[in-house]
């Protein structure tokens, strides 16, 4: 399936854009997405951490993705 992914902060610099398309296997999970991001963009592995939000909430690695989900890469936050 083809998903659209939004990027913020340093993630935007790594993928060189605020959003991009990624092709994932059907029934992919957040964990699969993270692995694919790290192999496509090795700079993600150098971050202190990064999380994935789906439909405006943090999701664990076993969370299943759907084509129409709003998927966002959340690099280490630094508000305040």
């Amino acid at each position: 399936m083809n998903v659209e992914i939004l990027a913020f902060g340093i993630a935007k610099d790594i993928v060189k854009g605020a959003s991009f398309q990624l092709d994932l296997p059907a029934e992919a999970t957040v964990g699969v997405l993270k692995q694919q991001l790290c192999s496509t963009y090795p700079d993600f592995e150098r971050l202190a951490s990064f999380a994935i939000a789906v439909n405006e909430a943090y999701r664990q690695d076993d969370f299943a993705l759907n084509e129409k989900d709003e998927i966002v890469i959340i690099p280490p936050v630094s508000g305040g």
Partner: protein, 138 residues
Amino acid sequence: MIDIQLKDTPLSTTECSDLVASPSTGGTVLFVGTVRDHTKGKAVVRLEFEAYAPMAVSEMRKIAEEAKSRWSADKIVIHHRVGVLAIGEIAVIIAVATPHRVAAFEACQYAIDTLKETVPIWKKEIFEDGEVWVAAHP
């Protein structure tokens, strides 16, 4: 009462303290986070804040709700700025009003500490000779 705002215009301490004021309140704690002119000995020129807005607002609301129920806070306000900020400008204001002071201090501390861990907002420090996304790398 909970009031959460993500704004690209200057924040106001007066507005926040007025929002939490009430006759039943015995103590108000106001945390004001401002832009510091240095980090690790290096001069900072300005900061740029970026947010994943809908989730930043919902995560701030979660924090406020938790603080409100754990410390029986009457009112809690969290305002966070986005965009380009000069030295000395206010990046965040948290105001908590409770019947007694201890709860207000604790709830406010909880709110700012949790905000820094969970709210999807990112800060870029701009130096004379470069820039860095804060906390991105170990």
